[in-house]
Amino acid sequence: MDILKKVPVREQDAKVRAKNFEEVCLGYNLEEAMEEAKRCLNCKNAKCIKGCPVSIDIPAFIQEVAAGNIEEAAKIIAESSCLPAVCGRVCPQESQCEGVCIRGIKGEPVSIGKLERFVADWSREHNIVPEKPEKTNGIKVAVIGSGPSGLACAGDLAKKGYEVTIFEALHEAGGVLVYGIPEFRLPKETVVKTEIDNVIKLGVKIETNVIIGKSITIDELFEEGFKAVFIGSGAGLPKFMGIPGENANGVFSANEYLTRNNLMKAFETDSDTPIYRGKKVAVVGGGNVAMDAARTALRLGAEVHIVYRRSQDELPARVEEVHHAIQEGVIFDLLTNPVEILVSEDGWVKGMKCVKMGLGEPDASGRRRPMEIPGSEFEMELDAVIMSLGTSPNPLISSTTEGLEVNKWKCIVADEEFGKTSKEGVFAGGDAVTGAATVILAMGAGRAGAKGIDEYLSKK
């Protein structure tokens, strides 16, 4: 084998997987994992740990994998993360742990994500479950939202002995892991449900169908006896472009499209929830969510175009996701920007008017600013458009909680180290604070919140 290269991971063939919702990446087996683990240099001053938002002791768990002690490896990961099977699949490792891996200076970094995933999947298959603390300290803490930040926060607090209840607005726990990320990247029943069950096994209660700010307010939670509250409600409000025709039938937010498909399982024939299966669909945007929406539409039988105003180099999506989308047959219309949705007489999308873009000088984001090329207008024929332009935090909680400071983007103001907000006993983290980010950053913020809450309650 070539020590400079990762042990390749098996994947479903692109042509086959473009027509199903089964997982794309098949993961390592024990032999492959041990071989890959041996590539780790076990650095003394391990940069990968600092690159990990939840500070997993990466070299330590990889050494255990190399020696074939998978259960031991799982325990090391569990000290820092309650969602390893999720993170092994959806973390942007290339810009975190693997991005700073010394092995990567010459050749490819160690495949840390795939190893983490292997350990988590192996643990699940061998029924390794986390141990519940022997007794609780009787102190009640409320966690709002059962997405990555809420689960991470709840898991850490439960391990410390707190009695944690998570309140979830939807009918199923998991947040973005359930409604946002598709089955073919993150299987719900095997992976997500198992990891949430593991958090429950730590003693965490999850109450679904409770909307904080509507069903009950944060102040009422304190009245119910909760001593601290962590807000991990995510960033949920979809953005639209504000161009003519955007309210036509057949224009969806990526949130709606993905929620119908992922949470409501509209792709399965026995689901009662409908989804619109277009023949030719444009997805506007270039992030991970856009890739998810495009690859979902493809699997539902459409010809799919990603319409993005900058070039491939600026695509905010992970390289792996773009690569998979191209392999599966998604067409990329880059340097293209919609200016109008064309609508039929009966109110349906029939096309989209776009302009070609050129790239100018770098703007505030450091990326080259896209500029319209005059006279370059053209029309695309379409029957559905999915807007994937990002999200902003939901004001439901901030607008019903007195004394909770928000910034001009309606994000809750909270400090990074402990998640402390302007309201006593209330902590926050994840997309509700930062705006849309990643699963692992949200988990890191959840852990920070747990640390903050523990410190706050220990002093009381």
């Binding site: 009918h171 169908n209 069903s215 039938n249 949130n255 439901l396």
Partner: protein, 296 residues
């Protein structure tokens, strides 16, 4: 799981249920809605709250069967359970924030159409409980489709019932009654609240604009989560796009783009499905609203 404590059929295809949901019952107000889901693979169905009992911890919902999901709900009986029941969603009616003395000086007209009578009821009841007599018009397609007449009579100042076909009480659309009250009976109104099928609300709003009566309507568009996340419920109000689930469901009826809302309502109705309904229902086809007389 959320227990159904009462289930009855009010009229053909229209059902009433009381559901145990203490958190919702504790904090809900007139104008708000809930989302209910029957079965693990069920659809999330938004329904405006018809009544609530804070002590018993129950919410009353009224719905009309229009497809597979509502048929499934209708098959449930007292003692059965809904898998999910969440709320209260949306903003309460604005009047609950108004000064009661100011409100008492106003002349208020409620206009209810078909199954829209259900969400009008808690508002009229609220008025009654605060010592405010209001005029209420209830319209139904036929006598058999009329719901909550007795309940409404008990809380309304004056109740005017009308049926499209004249099979009971007056004959004609609700707009005819409004015209009669204002033009022939010398009534004046400071505000009108109209809830019913989109086509009814559209024509009521057109009329009240002419008559210069500020009008509030309640929309029930397609939605998934009901918390602002999916954006399926977007509606144009004046020059702005609003999400009915968090900005509404009540809006200024003179500013709502009803034609767009009616088109959007069709998103998941296939051409085949519509044709089938038309064939099955024949002359009685009413697009599932009980009052519109069209393919709404």
């Amino acid at each position: 799981m959320y227990k159904i404590t009462k289930a009855e059929m009010l009229a053909d295809k229209i059902f009433l249920m009381d559901v145990e949901a203490p958190r919702v019952a504790k904090n809900c107000e007139p104008g708000q809605f809930i989302i209910v889901k029957a079965g693990e693979k069920g659809e999330r169905i938004p329904l405006t709250i018809c009544d609530y009992d804070r002590e018993a911890g129950t919410i009353t919902i009224v719905f009309q069967t229009v497809g597979a999901s509502t048929e499934k709900m209708a098959s449930l009986k007292a003692g059965d359970y809904f898998d999910d029941f969440v709320g209260p969603l949306g903003l309460p009616s604005e009047f609950i924030h108004e000064d009661i003395e100011e409100l008492k000086k106003k002349k208020i007209l409620f206009v209810a159409g078909g199954v829209g009578t259900a969400p009008v009821y808690p508002q009229v009841k609220w008025m009654h409980e605060h010592g405010i007599d209001v005029d209420v018009i209830v319209g139904a397609k036929t006598k058999d489709m009329l719901i909550l007449e007795e309940e409404m009579k008990a809380v309304a100042g004056n109740l005017y019932v009308t049926t499209d076909d004249g099979s009971y009480a007056r004959k004609g659309m609700v707009t005819e009654v409004i015209k009669d009250l204002v033009n022939n009976q010398g009534k004046t109104y400071d505000v009108c609240v109209a809830i019913g099928p989109l086509i009814m609300m559209k024509f009521v709003a057109l009329l009240t604009k002419e008559l210069n009566i500020p009008t509030v309507v309640s929309l029930n568009p397609i939605m998934v989560d009901g918390t602002g996340m999916c954006g399926a419920c977007r509606v144009t109000v004046g020059s702005e796009v609003k999400f009915a689930c968090v900005d509404g469901p009540e809006f200024d009826g003179h500013l709502v783009n009803f034609d767009e809302a009616m088109k959007r309502q069709q998103t998941y109705k296939t051409a085949e499905g519509r044709a089938m309904l038309k064939a099955v229902e024949g002359d009685t086809h009413h697009g599932g609203c009980g009052n519109c007389g069209g393919d709404e």
